[in-house]
């Protein structure tokens, strides 16, 4: 792969042109994206994809994998969804409430909830994603120990809650509080990292659809997570997938729950607006 500067020639000519057109039409875009906050910064950059360009990772996968995801009966992710449904209705201890006793039926009460995360916790001045939110409830309301990151229980609850939003479009209204996180996530996405000296944009914006080894590169969209990844032989979160990419370019692997990973999630969610949530996804 050519190691060109991201800022100048990572984009093939027609993408650079479309990026230029997009910059000119940004003001118009602000209205359709529905947030004044966008006017304050330039969302379009080397990592950006225009709405009509955005594709699900599933589009780059084999027919076998697509069938596996699209058929709930054979989608292995549903084993975690089932486990989540069970945990939802169970109390961790006799005195503690179950999720169900407060939130009632998840398919109804959790509809659209997963799409709101990560969000900015103003009081604690940090980002919070769905995993952290589940654990907060677990500790504060259920008086139980928080689940470790990537534990089956946390993945199960996260998958069960996210299922309620399946099919809904990623349409976060990016409010003022998320702007700094968005900017930092964007900077991370565009920055060269690791021994391989690659930015996310190099593969997932400049070369999606092309091959790396025997695999076709996707756009790095976040909407299918939590997903069952064949490589992991189990369900995993978006953060795990981001860590996998970091190890792929031989960069320092950021810890689960770190602010940088959450900022990247914010940027990715916004970059993928218009795609419909596919979780539980099935990926290579």
């Amino acid at each position: 792969m050519q190691h060109k500067s991201v800022m100048t020639s990572a984009l093939v000519p027609w993408r650079r042109l479309s990026s230029l057109i997009a910059q000119c039409s940004l003001l118009v875009g602000v209205m359709s994206l529905g947030a004044d906050a966008l006017a304050q910064f330039n969302a379009v950059g080397p990592g950006w994809l225009q709405p009509h360009e955005r594709r699900s990772g599933l589009a780059f996968k084999s027919e076998d994998l697509q069938n596996q995801q699209n058929d709930d009966a054979i989608n292995p992710g549903f084993l975690w969804v089932d486990q989540g449904a069970k945990l939802w209705s169970e109390s961790p201890s006799p005195q503690a409430p179950s999720c169900q006793s407060c939130h009632l039926s998840a398919p109804i009460s959790m509809k659209g909830v997963a799409l709101k995360y990560p969000l900015w916790n103003a009081r604690e001045k940090r980002l919070i994603n769905l995993d952290k939110r589940i654990n907060e409830c677990r500790v504060k309301k259920q008086h139980a120990q928080s689940f470790p990151y990537e534990s089956d229980e946390l993945l199960a609850l996260s998958s069960w809650i996210t299922l309620a939003s399946r099919g809904m479009k990623l349409e976060n209204s990016i409010d003022q509080s998320l702007v700094p996180a968005f900017e930092r996530g964007k900077a991370f996405y565009e920055k060269r990292i690791g021994q391989n000296n690659l930015s996310c944009a190099h593969c997932h914006t400049a070369h999606f659809g092309q091959r790396l080894g025997g695999e076709i590169i996707s756009q790095g969209q976040p909407h299918a997570y939590p997903a069952y990844r064949l490589e992991w032989q189990k369900m995993g979160s978006l953060q795990r997938r981001l860590r996998a990419c970091l190890s792929g370019v031989k960069a320092a692997i950021l810890p689960f729950g770190s602010e940088e990973l959450l900022e990247l999630e914010v940027y990715l969610n916004f970059r993928g607006q218009g795609l419909r949530l596919e979780s539980p996804g099935v990926r290579r």
Partner: protein
């Protein structure tokens, strides 16, 4: 560890149906290593049985060559309503079981 037995809803008596089984199990090969360097011990589902109303439909012996979270699909002909019962045991002796009811309607 959960499992799913998937059958068509209300099949007609006499129909040949697809039965699909999915079991949550890591099917550890014994060749995987932790970051510390130690090998994760082998633990796979050794034996798996599926019966319908007590009649054995599938008797399988699995190994490390079966993918994690085993999936199996096969056919059977149904003549009556009843229960599908799936039972399995792994290398550690942990047993699992799952049942699903199937109501056939008259053809």
């Amino acid at each position: 560890m959960g499992a799913r037995i998937l059958i068509p809803p209300s099949p007609k008596a006499g129909d040949v149906i697809d039965v699909r089984i999915l079991i949550q199990h890591p099917m550890e090969t014994g060749f995987r290593h932790e970051l510390s360097g130690s090998a994760v011990p082998k633990n796979v589902i050794r034996q798996l049985k599926l019966d319908f109303n007590g009649q054995l439909l599938l008797d399988a012996e699995l190994g490390t060559g079966t993918a994690a979270n085993p999936f199996l699909q096969f056919q059977t002909q149904l003549f009556e309503s009843g229960w599908f019962t799936l039972s399995w045991v792994d290398d550690l002796g942990v047993e699992g079981t799952e049942r699903v009811q199937c109501n056939t309607r008259a053809s």
